[in-house]
Subunit: 188 residues, 4 copies
């Protein structure tokens, strides 16, 4: 989990970006998971996908909603595992099976009325770069490819599927001064 | 597995707390597992949960029962995987799908007749804190969030799902002078 | 993911080998996966195999195809998980259930019209050695057994199932001067 | 995988023990797996077990059979995953659901006609100790509990489920001077 002292190193320009965020969007594989694609063999010649999420991210996503953030995922793959996880974590926007991601971003901007400076996006691989270049807070997970890290305002210390999203949520919600209240609610 | 010398560093005040324990309660995700939520996609739009437990914790939980401890889990999620694991490990109390945990604690205190000083609880995230503040022996796993570690009397050296519960059981059963007999029984 | 500076250390003789490659072949277990064989118990006395692939390898394999490489797997095991993953990653040749691998190599050489110097093969264990001794670019993953590493022109820094294939693809596609275009396409 | 130089450090007394081995027996959880018990939730209130084995152990077990060793598992749990893996790896003796293990050892001694000095056993937890105290070559995996390591003639450098069994097989087959022929056959 993110260390207590991590918040000390946050640059003021990053805090300024985080303060404006109203919508937190993210990729799925390598971001909400550790980038492993698990397939269970079926006898009919197909396979069913298994995904491994983080309980800490899940608690963080509910806390983000309680703090007033809107959340969503945009991914090139498609699975009912992701659909169910979105329900559990109160993720509002679920765009799956998207070869390119900018169209989904545009749609979410339209629905929420947010401008791109009010959106944070978390990614790990090449297809995430066009979205990262558009948003107010571009985040790369620690396991992202070098090109994605170069396109980001912030690189998490936690890996995807291992608390990276919790770390981003703590950054945003603390910058907005809502952490104490939101985490107290999480205990009630 | 816990190193042999680990028992040397235990503070006397901790041993005093461990001696009194009659009931060992624990969270599930991040404590009996490593905090990953695994979901298998189903064709009907839902997903089935997979949980990864530790064989060392399992053997430890049976040993705890043999040493006279009563055991239980309190968790916000719900799965038949946890139910079956509880049967295998002779876990007596299984409270699943609990948004808040204090109600389950109260019920277990009533059933067992134990007072809160005779209860140990092992947790990893914010919803565990109210319970940790009530019990005689409050334990955080090594992968717990900072707030939980601060609320604990003891932080394990093993991570959740990787022997943390075995480590807690060894602490308690050794403090009570029952380890030699209980582990001899485990070999018979 | 492969570090940016990794490409600096590549020996000229290795680049010469990589430039010639038209066909990229690979083993499955320990190469496209981390070498774990996962089996789900079924009530009829059998078990279904689960395989864990890398999202980074998957994106790399599609990028390899876009850059003009032909790709294939040769494995001693057989699973529909591998079949589906091959479809997802546009892997053209899928030879499963092969006790020995040279026959499959010969067949692929015949179909593609490539000579063995135009083939790269990535392996990790003893049955891969006869193929590695035949091809123009013999690659061992970082988790390969010592005998396989000794038979290879190149040992990846990434492990099987954790980006080793992406690393090999970057080596080949960059040596052929096609990386910039191919990765730009991956973002579009 | 076991490093090349590992064989240099083997004590002569250990080689003497390894030379005599005709039967290689092992525990399952923590030895052929990494000690995680994976359970998939079913809608009927039960759960199905998933086990994660090592491809390197699997290749090693076939190589052991080719070198003339007889192999078997003795475990307290029961799963069809283990049954299928035994078939794949040509494991001859499969004793599951055994609370105590000495009975199974006796039966295998009777069937094979081996004396206990000709048996190697690999274990990781307390129930393995009585068997380890009986056999000619007692092995603990690197992740074994301290009591098991103290009862062993040899502690592997690899962990259970990550090549520990392959390491033991290399030790035995090399001590018996059969490695070169057996590994050549594995490539054919």
């Amino acid at each position: 989990m993110p260390k207590k002292q991590a918040s000390k190193k946050i640059a003021p320009s990053l805090i300024a970006r985080a303060k404006k965020i109203r919508v937190l969007l993210m990729d799925v594989d390598g971001v909400l998971t550790d980038g492993h694609i698990w397939l269970l063999s079926r006898r009919d010649g197909t396979a069913s996908e298994i995904k491994g999420f983080s309980a800490y991210d899940g608690a963080g996503l509910k806390l983000a909603r309680a703090a007033g953030l809107r959340t969503g995922v945009i991914t090139g793959r498609e699975s009912t595992a992701m659909e169910q996880r979105a329900r559990e974590c109160e993720i509002e926007f679920v765009y799956q099976h998207r070869a390119t991601k900018l169209g989904a971003l545009e749609e979410i901007l339209r629905i929420t009325g947010a401008d791109s400076g009010e959106v944070a996006y978390v990614g790990d691989d090449l297809p995430d770069i066009p979205v990262l270049q558009r948003v107010g807070l571009a985040v790369a997970v620690s396991n992202a490819v070098p090109e994605v890290k170069r396109a980001a305002h912030f690189v998490t210390s936690r890996a995807g599927g291992d608390g990276a999203i919790r770390e981003v949520i703590e950054l945003i919600v603390k910058a907005q001064g809502k952490w104490a209240v939101a985490s107290r609610d999480a205990m009630a």
